[in-house]
Amino acid sequence: MPEPVSTLGFYFLGYVALSNYARGGSAISGEAIAARNAASALMESVERSQALFGDKAAAISRLRALAIECGQENWDADGAAMIDPRAIFNAEAIVRALPIGVPLPEFAPEPDGSVSLDWIQSRTRQFSLSVGRSHRLAYAWLDGTDSGHGVATFAGSIIPPRIIEGIFAIAKNGDAPIGTI
């Protein structure tokens, strides 16, 4: 959910003040140096969080654009169901819950109204997650001539370990990098 403008403004002012303090001033006492170091560390943390959130926010924007593009029945001219708003909601929760270091997926509509989250390294190295109305996630993977599928439950905040492992297994040693956060 986008931050209200007033809240963003407050954060911005706080950020500017913190940034100025972290860059240094005339204070020379031990406490001032410790405070400045703490401010610097906090600044780094804030900037890292913003970088991470920025990538996820962009991914969520793409997801919402997909929901609009496929928000009508028959978006594929072959009788597909419109993308289910609950599938979008669940997909957004998954994007937000992806741990640091896990690549962000690409998105694709599915004809039953679900959303596909795809980690595509190459033609034969892919991991794909299907997100629909329920919290049960269908997934499949292809790794050379090896392949498989399964179902895992997403409770809303923690991505099932087997899915994370599957993504990493495909992402490592790939030749077509996907947006890493």
């Binding site: 001219a77 072959d78 004809p111 039953d112 595509i120 033609r123 794909s128 299907s130 997934y139």
Partner: protein, 136 residues
């Protein structure tokens, strides 16, 4: 073996080129077709395709525009019938419209829709891995 109104045989041969038309930019990357583009329609449990290869290009897009109707036509996934049969799915002629065919035999499990989707996705992935992306 009968001949269809298109002049094609009613039997689709393994080496025949097939096209799945793409109506959404999110169905492909810069160079690859995503697996979801091949998933079946839940109503008839089939994937609609056309019996046409990359050439003649103009004829391919004419066929695609007709299939897309009011939707945008971004391109097509081109693949061999053999790529479908290799994963134990079927390819059947289904005219009209001319040159229309369907991918059949997708796994279906009313009792567990997520497991059904996972199985379908694995098969779609394998077909997609054998397909070429042709952009309009």
């Amino acid at each position: 073996m009968a001949t269809l109104p298109s002049g094609l045989s009613d039997s689709v041969s393994d080496d025949e080129d097939l096209a799945r038309f793409l109506t959404q930019s999110s169905q492909f990357t810069t160079s690859l077709v995503k697996p979801a583009a091949f998933l079946p329609n839940p109503k008839d449990r089939q994937t609609s395709i056309s019996r046409h290869g990359p050439e003649p290009r103009e004829d391919l897009w004419t066929l695609g525009l007709s299939a897309a109707g009011t939707r945008s036509l971004h391109g097509a996934a081109i693949f061999k019938a053999q790529a479908v049969r290799a994963v134990q799915l079927g390819v059947e002629a289904d005219e009209p419209p001319l040159r229309h065919a369907v991918i059949t035999g997708w796994p279906w499990d009313e009792a567990d829709p997520e497991l059904q989707r996972a199985k379908q996705k694995e098969l779609a992935m394998k077909i997609a891995s054998q397909a070429s992306l042709l952009l309009r």
